[in-house]
């Protein structure tokens, strides 16, 4: 019912894809932050955050995406967010974060 957060990574030659599944909320977000920041630190390529399995995210999680983007920019890497569900894409638009990130279908 309350689906926990799961994070899975897949390194391709030109990018690293991070699959986020479940719910990112105030309770699970610290795990996302730790994992994302660690990946940005250790991976030489650009990042794709695949959200096809992401069921729920709130401002806590969005803030972590922004923090990750800042960190990635310092290292001259890009972050692309893909396969957002409509409800979650709406949150990116409401908060203006759709202009900060590369958002792909």
């Amino acid at each position: 019912m309350s689906s926990e957060l799961k994070i899975r990574e897949e390194q391709l030659s030109d990018s690293m894809t991070v699959y986020i599944s479940g719910e990112v909320d105030i309770y699970t977000s610290q795990a996302l932050k730790d994992k994302l920041y660690e990946i940005i630190d250790s991976t030489p390529t650009d990042l794709v955050i695949d959200c096809r399995e992401l069921k729920y995210i709130d401002s806590t999680g969005l803030g972590i995406f922004v923090g990750a983007l800042k960190k990635a920019k310092q290292r001259e890497k890009k972050i692309c967010i893909s396969n957002l569900k409509e409800n979650i894409k709406k949150l990116f638009i409401i908060t203006g974060l759709d202009k900060l990130f590369i958002i792909k279908e």
Binding site: M1, S2, E23, D25, I26, Y27, Y56, D58, S59, T60, L62, G63, E86, N87, K90, L91, I94, T95
Partner: protein, 128 residues
Amino acid sequence: MKCESVELVLPFKAEYVSIARLTASGVASRVGFDIDTIEDIKVSISEVCNKLVSTGSQSAENYRIVFKVSDTALNVTFQCEDHSLKSVFDQNGDELGISIITALMDDIEFCGCGSNLLSMSKKLEGNI
């Protein structure tokens, strides 16, 4: 006109916010909202819970969410016996949370009466 209420009392802890969402989804589906609107209501309620849980309370262990169900709307009011919490929501610095609530809910009232902290509504009309 129907007016029924459901109340949920939760500890000031991050791990209980998901329970607010589960309860909210049950109440919202009883009102008759579609799945997308139920998601909007869940995230809006969570944003308020997040704010309360991050601020915490010196004197109260719990806060209360009152869901008022009518034929045409759902009203959600957050209450706490700790009256010093009233200032929680007019701080700056949490633009994301507040911008989400204001975009997704129909009316938001930063209350100043009694133990009420914040009240917000979602109308059913326009969702059918």
